[in-house]
């Protein structure tokens, strides 16, 4: 009983200390920043299609994503991307640049712990689940289509 009371009190204390963000501005900024990142991606894709007209759509998109990933990890290295993330919230997490940032940011931050245990281990703290879930679900989808294909 006393534990419960203490937990409640602690939760109240934690809640009072969590930095409060006003939802409306972050919603607005996440919309603007997220939209702009997508527009940037469309721009890169259109430029690739103009430069290499015979390239397939799928390859052009793959290169577009690689360029965006490069830009995001570079900006993360400069410390700019995390600044954007502070006010853009979901706008900087949901695009593929957020995935790139989630790999680059911890690897730079934990560099001081060494290359193996710092960079290589910590780079997957957020990307790990994304890759695991992605791999598992793609195998499941492949398996289902394989079964369907047999009939």
């Amino acid at each position: 009983m006393e534990d419960k009371q203490r937990n409640l009190q602690y939760n109240r204390y934690v809640n009072s200390k969590i930095p409060k963000t006003h939802p409306w501005p972050t919603l607005f900024y996440s919309f603007i920043v997220g939209g702009l990142i997508c527009v940037l991606g469309q721009g890169i894709n259109d430029i690739i299609m103009v430069l290499f007209p015979y390239m397939s759509q799928a390859s052009a998109w793959a290169i577009t994503l690689i360029v965006l990933i490069f830009l995001a990890s570079f900006l993360t290295g400069l410390g700019i991307y995390d600044q954007i993330g502070k006010f853009a919230g979901g706008g900087s997490i949901v695009p593929i640049t957020g995935f790139s940032n989630s790999i680059a940011s911890p690897s730079i931050e934990f560099k001081s712990e060494g290359i193996i245990y710092g960079i290589c281990v910590k780079m997957f703290t957020i990307a790990g689940p994304v890759i695991v879930f992605g791999t598992v679900s793609s195998v499941l989808v492949g398996f289902i289509y394989w079964i369907i294909g047999m009939f």
């Binding site: 963000t21 939802p23 972050t26 996440s30 919309f31 997220g34 939209g35 997508c38 527009v39 991606g41 469309q42 259109d46 998109w61 793959a62 994503l65 690689i66 965006l68 990933i69 990890s73 570079f74 290295g77 410390g79 919230g89 979901g90 706008g91 997490i93 949901v94 695009p95 593929i96 640049t97 957020g98 995935f99 790139s100 989630s102 790999i103 680059a104 690897s107 730079i108 001081s112 290359i115 960079i119 290589c120 703290t125 957020i126 990307a127 689940p129 994304v130 890759i131 992605g134 791999t135 679900s137 793609s138 195998v139 989808v141 492949g142 398996f143 289902i144 289509y145 394989w146 294909g149």
Partner: protein, 122 residues
């Protein structure tokens, strides 16, 4: 005029997807890893049931740049590889289709981690 409309749609759809992510963050306090996984799984699901192509034809980068597109190409790769390679495709398809993105993210993160110093978070 056509290209302007395309970019407007990309901006609106992309912005909306990201805003939905932000709504999830505000209302449920979920971490960014869960946000990424949630949207990725949404992409896998949309591709698996076969509606992603239509959405992507309409919104282009608006859904391809958010991690939904990453999930969709995982599923698309798996489906395509099963059709051409059969059983082996189940395991090779997904990662093969997204290898570019994963390799780029790991490579650039590693290189920039060696080059740049950590910016302490205030």
């Amino acid at each position: 005029m056509d290209i302007f409309l395309t970019y407007l749609i990309v901006f609106l759809v992309g912005g909306l997807v990201c805003m939905i992510g932000e709504v999830l963050i505000i209302t449920t306090n979920i971490t960014s890893a869960r946000i990424l996984v949630t949207f990725e799984m949404l992409g896998v699901l949309l591709q698996a049931v076969g509606v992603y192509e239509y959405i992507s034809d309409f919104a282009k980068a608006g859904v391809n740049v958010p991690i939904i597109g990453f999930g969709a190409s995982l599923a698309k790769g798996a489906i395509g590889a099963v059709k051409t390679n059969g059983f082996l495709g189940i395991f090779t398809g997904g990662l093969a289709a997204t290898a570019g993105g994963i390799a780029a993210a790991i490579f650039f993160a590693f290189i920039f981690a060696l080059i740049f110093k950590s910016h302490t978070k205030k």
